[in-house]
Symmetry: C2
Subunit: 213 residues, 2 copies
Amino acid sequence: MNETALFKLSYGVYVCTTWDEGRPVGCVANSAMQITSAPATVAVSINKKNYTHKCVEETGYFAVTVLGEKSDPKIIGRFGFMSARDTDKFAETAYSIRGKLPVLDDGVAYMVCKVVSKWETETHTVFLGEVTDCDHLKKDKPMTYAYYHEVLKGKTSVNAPTYAASATEGDDTPRYVCTICSYEYDGDVPFEELPEDWVCPICGVGKEMFEKV
Amino acid sequence: MNETALFKLSYGVYVCTTWDEGRPVGCVANSAMQITSAPATVAVSINKKNYTHKCVEETGYFAVTVLGEKSDPKIIGRFGFMSARDTDKFAETAYSIRGKLPVLDDGVAYMVCKVVSKWETETHTVFLGEVTDCDHLKKDKPMTYAYYHEVLKGKTSVNAPTYAASATEGDDTPRYVCTICSYEYDGDVPFEELPEDWVCPICGVGKEMFEKV
């Protein structure tokens, strides 16, 4: 049994949002899928450790913003690598109220769902939501998790024809990897020469959080 | 509410297989996702009208073969557009027994699962399976549903740099579409001049099943 085979399942990159006593909260989710079409229902799996999980439990509502390939990668850093417990993830993220829930503006589509059923596992709850509102946002290709992993994490340039291949094979150049979000620096300027105020394009932390590997 | 926004969720293309009294059966599924990692569990949503649904119910086991971009598109025709009730879908499909279940050879990975929980909706059952065996198969990129829809359905050539765009915009050339699987003919030879034994590359039906649109 080789559990890395499970990485071959395909996912999108979503931000699941809701309210926390009037304050918008949210987290990145990869596991979302439509279950039925009439009525339209969508299932989303959220780790119980996420603060957003508690808030979806309490409100009974969640929204899903589908990120696109051109969505600002900082959204993933903010919503995927920080906690709503101590961060206002929406402070620098444009959003609008749609179907009574906060939805990010920088996505390709959104759906607002009312929780109609839940499926408990030891670590995650799968919320089944009936879609009460949904529409398109910006025109862009939906981001897949594979795209995020292969392109945005900087393993190779988005413009390279072979971006699916590993750029590091047979290459002894030192690599610099963000210890927070695993982004691998891939710019033309040598890492050591980057200005001191340079920050990780994914999660926004400074150079000092990068590790030479 | 614009329900086409739901098409922006990302999916893979999978073949869900099991046994029917010693006979291998299976159907195409798009909705599969990992739910927990320890133990590894995978959820797959199967329409109750599928013959394979009944067989998963009866055996309590299912396997998922993850198709790749280079997997034979006829697999999708056979497993997605025909019924195991009256077709032996495995007659012309290479498969092997892995973890006691039939798994297609022409995929990038597989996982064999024991059903540990079920979630009933009006039209679909979501089976939660604990992974008892999984491994990689051929080296290839997993096929996404978007890839299948945009490339294999022939809306434009896989080699075209703009394959995501519609090839038919502003074009008055008659189009020929398979009435079984919606594949749109896109070859260099005019459709009328194709040999009589030409068959749909996706589902395998003859020219007579194509409609001029």
